[in-house]
Symmetry: C3
Subunit: 206 residues, 3 copies
């Protein structure tokens, strides 16, 4: 028989000690980490590292913002599931509906994240983040539509196909442009970025 | 009672206005974004940023390609589920089968993506992307095998263990190599990359 | 009727040839890839690329380690599901329990990964990785608690809310700091990193 509960109890006892040691190690590491950055000798290196880090943030901050909004939405969906789960101990139709919608959204979530980040890194982040926000709006609508009247038919398993396809195209164009630059030396990135930016506005069409 | 449908209707009305404003903001932002890149003064900065961006793409483009192929495969799986879902309104055995397979594949998908990207970033992208493609072939086979004859036993919950393990090893070797370089100053990266490249061919063995 | 099994059989036959060709291409590409790095002319470029690659690894290696630990945990969970699945061919309560827990964990996994990586890239990796490890411990406890005595109530759908919220705050602070630097030229990154490091110790509180 699987004794997961017992293991959990033993872990509780061990965990107290682990936490104490981890705290000690954590503080010690921190002290070491702070010392060189406070000293003057490594100041230039430290500021350069900060510059590099800011450069990284510059290229991804819009994507991070969209990711954070999507996380908030995920938490909203999960809370709906949990509330429905606690209200009705038995598996009602409403619980089935919320749970199914949430699962459909979660199934598509890694795909969406992967495509958005690839498009943002390969081509340019502004249109990718914009398409990401449109996707989140479509997802919210899908969630609400799925939970709607019981009589109406559910909106199917897939949603946001057009947006995923747009992001997918952005990735392909970005890689194609890189290969052109590498083998032929011609860089059309700025033109492509302008066209992509303009094309992303088409996603607003219903 | 949960009134998701009503909220959806109200949102439809609001959304029209949001879309219009978003369009305006979007175009305005774009105009601002285009102005500096068109002016001559920031030309050198812009070209440097493009160079950096191309450098980033250089290190990840194979991984992006594999990610895109996996997205196409996900869409193929999802379409299979949707078609089965629409054909038979009642939950038949075939629908259960497709849905279950799709869920198993989707469960393992974030793990696969995370390991592949880590391996590609930490060590080298070519063997990681190669292992990724092999994984996608195994997944396709798993999907087809799961849907096969109803009489035969299903191929279990896990698949592609060997490939995930290989990518996992690549990550560990990459981090170990970095730590060696940092604390002992010896860099074996090129040798390790050669060995990894040769070892990835072993994944082709059935 | 869907003939997935037949397609699988045909693919087996084709795959042998594909594998052979892939092996040839793979080896050929490798030979080409090795030639320039072995020649002396591109030596400086190669070493610079290695330096850049090591710089990338420097900024993410702790995050990669946590990701690898989470992958091991995922594999542990998946193995539990598979063992339960094989032991009892019928859908027993124990199988339902393990499968449900695993699905809950997998649902939250992409969200966790996304937030942890964003926090690590935007602000600093040490506290993000530390919070990630605490999250993995909470997840292990959740898994064990879910499988515990059948009589006790399950611990709900959500877990690790506090840690996700902490990582979320880290992302926001990181982006806010970047925007401050960009528009006002004031960089508080070092202070923020110190405060975040100290604050991450608060996650150890039960």
């Amino acid at each position: 028989m699987w004794d997961g509960g017992e293991i959990g109890t033993i872990r509780d006892i061990i965990e107290g000690k682990i936490r104490f040691f981890a705290l000690c190690i954590c503080l010690q590491v921190r002290t070491h980490a702070l010392t060189p950055s406070a000293s003057a000798s490594s100041c230039s290196y430290s500021s350069q590292a900060t510059m590099d880090s800011n450069k990284v943030v510059e290229n991804i901050y819009l994507l991070v913002v969209v990711t954070l909004i999507s996380v908030v939405q995920n938490a909203f969906f999960a809370q709906k599931v949990e509330r429905e789960c606690k209200n009705h101990q038995t598996h009602t139709a409403a619980f089935e509906r919320v749970s199914c919608t949430n699962r459909n959204c979660m199934d598509a979530y890694p795909t969406f994240l992967a495509v958005m980040w690839c498009a943002g890194l390969c081509l340019s982040q502004a249109p990718a983040a914009f398409a990401g926000i449109i996707y989140l709006m479509v997802r919210q609508k899908y969630f609400a539509g799925y939970l709607g009247q019981t009589s109406q038919s559910t909106p199917g398993y897939l949603f946001g196909k057009r947006i995923i396809f747009f992001l997918f195209l952005m990735c392909i164009v970005g890689i194609f442009n890189y290969l052109l630059l590498r083998y032929y030396g011609s860089d059309y990135k700025e033109y492509v970025q302008t066209i992509t930016g303009a094309a992303s506005a088409l996603l607003l069409l219903p």
